[in-house]
């Protein structure tokens, strides 16, 4: 069962999620806009904040620092009502090639993945491919698992959001 797609394969606006191997996750989606626009939405902190945190997750983004250049670092700080302390996610941009490719590390844990995002423009549309490589299979299994217990309620909110 290496592959599972979201229902409607006939439309362009569909997010495909694939477990490529024991250590890899691949997510793809085509956006109806040129690459420079899609890349801007990933690399401008003010725009990134708008979409990165699903509303249904109940998280608020306290700060979002992104020094978007090869070798630069980023730091996102979230607060969730269920936790006393804010949570920080941080790492380094290993590669920033405008309108083409972003590679960053996830250094909040030793088991963090390396994330590669590519932007491929074709006929005014952009295929975004996100690839996460985990150091071990166990690390991959644990990704998002910690938050899973609290998720059913959030998924219900998400369903409402997506249906609206």
């Amino acid at each position: 069962m290496p592959k599972e797609n979201e229902g409607s394969t006939g439309t362009t606006n569909h997010t495909a999620v694939e477990r490529k191997s024991d250590r890899e996750l691949v997510v793809t989606r085509t956006f109806d806009a040129p690459a420079h626009i899609v890349f801007e939405a990933w690399s401008n902190p003010e725009l990134f904040k708008v979409w990165w945190v699903p509303k249904s997750a109940g998280l608020s983004l306290l700060s979002c620092d992104m020094d978007i250049r090869t070798g630069g670092s980023y730091r996102l700080v979230f607060r969730h009502p269920a936790f006393d302390q804010p949570m920080a996610f941080f790492g380094t941009y290993k590669e920033v090639t405008p309108n083409k490719r972003l590679v960053w590390t996830n250094e909040e844990s030793e088991q963090g993945a390396v994330t590669t995002v590519t932007f491929e423009e074709n006929d005014g549309k952009t295929l975004v491919t996100l690839h996460e490589l985990y150091p071990t299979e166990a690390a991959r299994d644990e990704a998002l698992a910690g938050s899973a217990d609290g998720l059913p309620e959030q998924f219900a909110q998400l369903d409402e959001l997506l249906a609206s």
């Binding site: 599972e4 477990r19 989606r29 806009a33 899609v38 249904s56 990704a143 998002l144 698992a145």
Partner: protein
């Protein structure tokens, strides 16, 4: 398929945790590692929910940015 080939196939499935085998005497019995399959499906589903939500929001933003860019371009032409 040869018996050796079959053994190889089963051992790959067993390593992946998708089947569990038990040997009693000369007979090796295989059964599905059901729990593992469910965990795998749940893992995919968690990630699909997250990325669908993110990318739906990104899609809306990108549409908005595209319209803004067109408006800007028209203004510049005038």
């Amino acid at each position: 398929m040869t018996l050796t080939g079959m053994k190889k196939h089963v051992s790959v499935l067993e390593e992946a945790g998708l089947v569990i085998t038990e040997k009693v005497g000369r007979v090796r019995t295989c059964r599905l590692g059901q729990r593992r399959l469910e965990e795998e499906a749940a893992w995919i589903e968690r990630h699909r929910q997250l990325w669908s939500a993110r990318f739906d929001a990104l899609d809306k933003l990108v549409e908005h940015m595209k319209r803004e860019e067109k408006v800007d371009a028209q203004r510049k032409r005038r």
